[in-house]
Amino acid sequence: MIEGMTALYIFTLAAFTGYEVISRVPVILHTPLMSGSNFVHGIVLVGAMIALGNASTELEKLFGFIAVAFAAGNAVGGYFVTERMLEMFKSSGNKGEAK
């Protein structure tokens, strides 16, 4: 376990980082960004794999399987959806030259 205070530091700094990263975002990018952040929490896949990897009983394996399948869905779906949205911005970005 990451030590108590260290954990608190990590948590707090990460929270500020998230706040800062999004606070400068123009409204037009809110949906893609929401989708992008939705993709980023797909990192839950890593945890799901660890959980399934350490599961021993059948029930644990079932939960673990669900976790991995869901998490993979989150990551993969989140990526493609975000990418499809941002693809469009590329073309209009070249044309319109951002305001």
């Binding site: 949906t31 960004l33 980023v40 839950v44 660890i50 993969v76 779906g77």
Partner: protein, 499 residues
């Protein structure tokens, strides 16, 4: 004397025995040392990879905050994700690889198939769906960890329970949000004492969670299952009374919640990448939720605890609407626009439903060629999420220096000859300014009624998402162009070009 010799011999024997033992021990250590060094090298590599992945996530999100670098941003984050996933296979002492790969293929296959076929207009519910999966995954991880029991400290146990609670709520809530936006569930559901019942269900799930924490390793399966049932039920109860118009805020909230749940599971599993990525999303999502709620002038508590649809019984006073809806032909509209100095187009979700954005884009080009100044006014909640309309217009090729936010453009309506409202309703309803009784009262709106002429393209006479009658449609300077958005836009394009 002989006894001394004997003792001496015995001592020698013992010495040589212990020396032998020493040798055996040493070699044993050496045997053990080899894999442990490899193992520590490996786990060091895994840790570094997680670190790199985390940095890529944050930089990716950062890049996504500017239109120019946005596309690179998601690719960076994607590389981080692949890196983190691949190295996880190398974790010490794991099994079930077959199941793991099977689950990854099943989950990503489904998501990939869904993501490919979905239309741009349906993006919000897709985000809801994938977000729900993430929340479900976080909850399921908790399930595994709680079932395994014992191995966690008190704090980890608490975080596992909280993560499970939040993850479950995000999962079932997002599922409801998906169903509503996808049209699978049409109505907002209300029943008496709703808030009280929700509160009770929530309290029960917290109580069950607390019992699980205190039982530690001896926790019973029934209790865990019960806990999940209540948590999932709360997610559903929380989402069913919320109307479609408020859904973006709720999805954003669930997105933040999932992030938080993932962060908590990261603590449980001692995984810094999950902690940081989850928490970053948690706070970014919270901010985004606030921004959205602010744009709609509805405090989050309001969105969550008072159903939007409630007002229908409160007798919408149709009597106080003055005037009538006045129809107009497309040819007249074309003339009006072609000879205008400035036209402001106000697109709403209806435009996207009618797939009219491409025709509107053409219309914009035709008008611009005639020297008409064309601007787009985007309400913060136009479409179904902030920025959704911008995505749709971008898809149709409207350059975004023509697109303006509410604050930037609202003053300009007074100097505008024609305001063309297509598929928007609530966001131009002056009732939001005038009638404190109205459920949308206080929401900032686009002042389309201030323009010299207002044209509303509309399929029929129905009300908007909120179900509120729109007084703009009855105003003296408003004309209704009845018809399908795409067909009408096409007619306008043709007539403007012919002029």
């Amino acid at each position: 004397m002989s006894q001394d010799t004997l003792q001496q011999a015995l001592q020698d024997h013992k010495d040589s025995l212990s020396a032998l033992e020493q040798v055996i021990n040493d070699s044993a250590i050496e045997v053990a040392a080899e894999p442990s060094m490899w193992q520590s090298f490996l786990s060091g590599g895994i840790e570094i990879s997680y670190f790199v992945a985390t940095i890529l996530f944050i930089l990716g999100l950062k890049r996504m905050s500017s239109p120019v670098t946005a596309r690179g941003g998601i690719v960076w984050a994607g590389i981080g994700m692949i890196l983190a996933t691949v190295v996880t296979f190398g974790h010490e002492g794991m099994g079930n690889y077959f199941l793991m790969i099977l689950a990854i293929i099943a989950g990503s296959g489904f998501a990939w198939w869904k993501a490919r076929q979905v239309a741009m207009t349906d993006m919000p519910q897709m985000i809801a769906l994938y977000n729900g999966l993430g929340g479900g995954a976080a909850a399921a991880i908790s399930g595994v960890e709680l079932l395994r029991g014992a191995e966690h400290s008190m704090i980890a146990q608490i975080l596992a329970v909280i993560g499970a609670l939040i993850g479950s709520i995000a999962f079932s809530g997002s599922a409801v949000a998906y169903a509503k936006l996808d049209g699978l569930m049409k109505k907002s559901i209300h029943f008496p004492r709703q808030n009280t019942i929700n509160f009770i269900v929530f309290t029960v799930s917290i109580a069950l969670g607390a019992i699980i924490i205190f039982q530690g390793s001896e926790v019973s399966l029934t209790l865990i299952v019960l806990f999940f049932i209540f948590a999932l039920a709360f997610g559903i109860l929380m989402a069913i009374p919320i109307g479609g118009a408020d859904m973006p805020v709720v999805i954003s909230l669930f997105n933040a919640l999932t992030g938080l749940a993932v962060g908590f599971e990261g603590f449980v599993l001692d995984n810094a990448a999950m902690i940081i990525a989850g928490t970053v999303v948690g706070s970014a999502g919270t901010l985004l939720t606030q921004l959205m709620a602010k744009a709609m002038n509805r405090p989050i508590s309001n969105v969550l605890f008072s159903g939007f649809g409630n007002h229908s019984d409160e007798a919408e006073d149709a009597g106080d609407i003055e005037g009538s809806m006045k129809p107009i032909e497309s040819s007249d509209v074309a003339v009006m626009m072609a000879y205008a100095q400035q036209v402001i187009i106000i697109p709403g979700y209806g435009m996207a439903v009618a797939q009219a954005q491409h025709k509107i884009s053409e219309l914009t080009k035709a008008l611009t060629e005639r020297g008409v100044r064309v601007k787009f006014a985007i309400h913060p909640v136009a479409g179904r999420m902030p920025g959704h309309m911008n995505v749709l217009l971008a898809e149709a090729g409207v350059p975004y220096d023509m697109i303006f936010d509410l604050d930037e453009i609202n003053e300009e309506f007074a100097q505008t000859d024609v305001a063309l409202v297509i598929g928007a309703n609530d966001v131009v309803n002056p009732v939001a300014r005038t009638n404190p009784e109205s459920p949308i009262y206080g929401m900032p709106i686009l002042n389309a009624d201030a323009a010299k002429n207002t044209i509303v393209i509309k399929r029929g006479k129905g009300t908007g998402f909120s179900g509120v009658e729109n007084h703009l449609f009855y105003a003296d300077n408003t004309r209704m162009l009845y018809g399908d958005g795409q067909a009408m836009a096409a007619e306008l394009v043709q007539q403007v070009k012919e002029m």
